[in-house]
Symmetry: C2
Subunit: 364 residues, 2 copies
């Protein structure tokens, strides 16, 4: 429990993406969508950690274009806690910058790195696992949360785990970490099925818990250029340098993910197997795993169904009537409607590309 006082939650809320078109648009990415409730996904993420983490220790990393809207969503989060990336630089830089900021406030700061556009079915279980993760992190381990697979998913990276870590000093750790044997790329279906049967593979959730001091050491070791840039940025900010200077420093940072730049290289990385009903909600199809009606449909908004099962039926504007549909995705928004089979939602990007080619930019 004592560890919670050091925990800083970092919401990664800078993502773009068109896979949820037409609901997501260029200026309205997934984390701002209302998929599972009347709240946006980033609000859901915030609400999950708020029972244990006060606003003063919630950080939000985002892009210039989204910062104002996020600040409006979270008026109680101090403005200083919003890390605005003037240009997209993937996750390693913003985590390093956030870690530096936390370290200055608390030398024992623990960072919970939380993607802001995921779904978690059981928030209590999530906090329970997070608590165990903070206990591991306090000892200097870099903890990832790995999700026990429920089906042969081909859309996720996997983590192969090995033995238990050494016996924790704190016997209250309920969810014990395992050594990581390997990070594994997204598999094909047969491989995913073999992972599922093997029982030693977990989905890589992208959720990390680590001491700020630990991650900065790793950055120094594996991404020394980034470490220097972070130092420079902190100095520049203290000296109130202008936006151009800050922009120049950000643009010098390597455009690299924390997974690729640190996790897959570093020593002392562990994983806690968890089962709190997780999805990265990568495409519309992902919602079929979380049906909301008695016919296995995911339904949102004003929808009427007749003899329809296993569909995603989403309306943010007007009535959607589905008759005799199976495994389809139908999304109704104010200006645009998408209809496609659920197993082809990964091709929505191609459709958006087609809109660009045809110069139908009003729908992007």
């Amino acid at each position: 429990m004592e560890h919670w006082d050091h925990v800083h939650a970092l919401l990664l809320a800078g993502g773009k993406g068109t896979r949820f078109w037409p609901l997501s648009r260029e200026d309205h990415p997934k984390q701002l969508l209302k998929l599972f409730s009347d709240r946006t996904l980033v609000e859901d993420t915030y609400s999950r950690i708020r029972p244990m983490v006060p606003n003063e220790r919630v950080l939000v990393a985002t892009s210039k274009g989204l910062a104002t809207r996020l600040m409006a969503l979270f008026p109680d989060i101090p403005e200083d806690n919003v890390i605005v990336e003037p240009l997209a630089r993937n996750t390693a830089p913003c985590i390093a910058v956030s870690a530096r900021r936390c370290l200055e406030r608390d030398p024992d700061a623990i960072l919970a790195v939380l993607p802001s556009d995921h779904f978690i079915a059981d928030p209590n279980m999530f906090l329970e696992v997070l608590e165990s993760a903070t206990a591991h992190a306090a000892r200097g381990e870099i903890v990832t949360l790995g999700i026990t697979p429920t089906h042969p998913e081909t859309g996720y990276g996997y983590i192969r785990f090995g033995e238990f870590e050494q016996e924790p000093e704190n016997e209250e750790i309920r969810h014990r970490a395992r050594r990581i044997q390997a990070f594994v790329e997204k598999p094909d279906h047969d491989t995913a099925m073999s992972y599922l049967k093997a029982g030693r593979y977990l989905w890589n959730s992208g959720i990390f818990v680590l001491r700020a001091a630990t991650i900065l050491d790793k950055v120094k070791l594996h991404l020394p250029g980034l470490a220097r840039a972070v130092d420079e940025l902190v100095e520049a900010e203290k000296a109130h340098k202008n936006a151009e200077t800050l922009m120049r420093i950000w643009s010098d940072m390597p455009n690299i993910s924390v997974d690729f730049g640190i996790m897959e290289k570093a020593e002392g990385i562990v994983v806690i197997p968890a089962s709190f009903g997780w999805s990265d909600v990568g495409t519309w199809r992902a919602l079929t795993s979380f049906p909301t009606d008695e016919n296995e449909n995911f339904v949102h908004g004003r929808v009427i169904t007749v003899d329809s099962t296993g569909n995603v039926l989403y309306s943010s504007h007007g009535l959607l009537a589905a008759l005799g549909l199976e495994n389809m995705v139908v999304v109704v928004t104010r200006g645009a409607v998408l209809v496609c089979p659920a197993d082809r939602t990964q091709e929505v990007r191609a459709l958006v590309d087609e809109l660009k080619i045809r110069d139908m930019t009003e729908y992007l």
Copy 2:
């Protein structure tokens, strides 16, 4: 040719129906939809006969609720030519009333009875067949147009034809009529297939051509109650009786179709086999027979398709994006969207009933 001078075109435009929901609504029936062009179906019907029939001889029979809108659509049709049925009484009464009106203007009047919500691909061929029909009608025959089947349609009534009528006096009759052996109910699929192979069956188009005097004789014979009511109505109108009186007379008329009340009973009915690309456009599915793009899709409005074939994709409001669809119907309107497989569009009525049950009357 001389016969054209006697032809009065009667547009039957009183129909209701919800099979084209959500585009058709209770106050916006099929004949007012823009399916094949930027014009409504009733305008298409009007335009087809206008090359041969002047506005003075175009009559429109419709309901009280639709009269104003139809008059606005056809400002050049004399107001006297609009027959407003104060309550729905099917086709026999309005045809009889129209025939009476025409007869008073021209004792040799020929009536072309035209449903106003059908599709005809080849309007020139249609007029050519109509011309032959008027020549037959002038001799006192009641002529129906029968469509040579192109597929085993189960949604239409059929006409079995026999021998040719006697040699026409006018050798210019290009499309000669046949005796009718029987009117046949909508068949099941196997029966429809046997009709198609037999070559002696035609689709009953519901298009009739007949002398006004002839049909009134038949009405007197087969529906004497209607004949009396028509006489009474004409007298009442001449005497400028009030709306209540007229309403009472209309409500006394039998609620019966001309097919059932006259055609299937009368002598001297003939059929002209025709092939001008006809459909009664009974459901959304019917549109799949008239594809508009290179992938066999019927497309209307702002639609983008990727890898989609054999669909009906209709948008009257905003963009519709179809990805990987086959044999589906998607209809996007301002307040409501319908998605269903093409072979289930006959169940759209059930869906509309469901809306009524749920008291979602704003979508009816």
